[in-house]
Amino acid sequence: MDLSYTAEEDEFRARLREWLGKVLPTLPVKPSPDDWPGRRAYDCGWQRMLYDAGYGHVHWDASPTTRLIFLEETEKAGAPYVGANFVGLLHAGPTLAAEGTAEQRERWLPPVLRGDEVWCQGFSEPDAGSDLAALRTRAWRDGDDYVVSGSKIWTSHAEVADWCELLVRTDADAPKHRGISWLAMPMSAAGITVRPLRTLAGSAEFAEVFLDEVRVPVGNRVGDENDGWRVTMVTLSFERGTAFVGEVVACRRVLGELAVEARRNGRWDDPVLRRQLGRLNAEFRALWRLTQWNVSEAEASGGVPGVGGSVFKLRYSHARQELYDVAADVLGPDSLDLERAWVLDRLSSLSYTIAAGTSQIQQNIVAERILGLPKGR
């Protein structure tokens, strides 16, 4: 067991740190949370800077440890988050890289890396959330196209996306997991209507997407027809894999800020609160260690992240909510003021136990796939 880094890794860290120190002060002002076109431009501008400096590929072809260092350093330095590029960089892109043809990779990957194209994820439907394989959006063949009709929901960043990783039913008669296909749908196609939905935090972060006879070329299908569920599992393993590394670093920073604020406003003298903060310190230190453990494991086995991501996601999503609950105790009545730091974060943390598979679904996965307990009805 070793927690030290190689000379090469240390050098990567030092170079990155130096570069961040130089470029971060040159960034434009962050757009307001509700300005999606502004946020798209900002996030893509940042991705372009990473690309030009040679860091654009880091999520894909760097070693897991190098990626860990990248996420740690960018978060520590206060660099922008992947934001609108989340789906393209962290799961559609890796899925295309793993499952796409050479032609598909050539068409779609470079623009994601350059920050030219943004992707969204069209998996969930009004009647297919946790039970994702129950999806009903249909696609039938007409010449070289699929014609797609149906609707998707909770599609994050749909308003500003160029492409959508879309799950459709291509065989209505097959068992539900067998008749699904994975398509890359251009969001500019005729027949797509995006209706923004407001989150409880007040921003139009996701949307409902209506599809009325949208034509998608057959060549945009990734994997075989009706083999989309297998491709979906690849996508989900990326989504639940190491996507939260930077956030753990961020939570540790917030915790330190909370302690300082508590001392400033006198709440530090409350031993109950102090001990809660101490316990959260233990929690996030342990989550960081678990991240290092999982990254080392991925490095040893090389390949798609395993179901271990569910263990991490379960614990992390609750810890994050607890962190902002304690933040509210530190703030007291100010915790009801949306202008105060941490209040919006508290609201958005509520999605963590729902999005990307609810905690209940993650517990089923851990119990059935890791512990081998029987599937229930």
Partner: protein
Amino acid sequence: MRFQLTDDQRALRDAVRGVVGRSSSAGVWGLVAQFPAPLKGAPRLDRGFWRGLGELGVFSLRLAEVDGGAGLGLPEAVLVFEELGWALVPGPLVATHLAAGVVPGAATGETVVAAADGSLVEWLDEADVVLPGAEGAVALRSVDPLTPLHRVPAPARTDPVAVLLTAAEQLGTAARVCGLAVQHARTREQFGQPIGAFQAVKHLCAQSLVRVEVARAAVYAAAVTGDVVDIAAARLLADEAAVRGALDCLQVHGGMGFTWESEVHLHLKRAWVRARRGGGNTESEELLAADLLARAA
């Protein structure tokens, strides 16, 4: 960074596992059989078994080779103590380990060493030596039938290494009770199916595993860094994993879990005893809180 067990560490763990635990007669059931009616009288420590632990290197592990040890470090000690926790091995294990090289005979298991930790001493009457002493010790009727306890009036300071090794034992217990719960959930049938098919049971087991994995990462990392704040974090996570895990394991076992014959209560009671060592949770939480301010300063 290669935060995974090395081949040597794996081999060491497997060797200890083979001797103290899983398959051997010195495992939990052999020990329980020694104490058929433990509500009365104190247990005796099996000196032969203790010397066996000495031969295995449990106490001398971290001594230099010239002093008769194996010259290994905290990570190896943690792996060994995890196995001892898993197998519910009784006795003042941590105290004797820490006395190796200091008290003659401790390293080989010839001498049994007990120590005051916080305001408690475990195994006082069976010990040959007590560190740093146990003036005014009063016997308690111990909740754990396999750990006799005395209370001392002046609380003793705790060594961070003792806290870490205790966390390792707790981790072993946490893994053990998770395994027991899963095993029972797979085999016990109600309503025509294994109870493990019911989500309420499934989720208890899943959370138990999540706590084990988080605690494991924390305990192993603390062993690598040896840092007192890492150690404090490890003990909080490991205490939670052991105590909560044992309680949930008991729940999964239903009525059977409430009986003396089922081993579940023994794991729970031991986890409770260990959670009182090293000043208890409060001390670790305060240390971790102070660390937040120290880092921000």
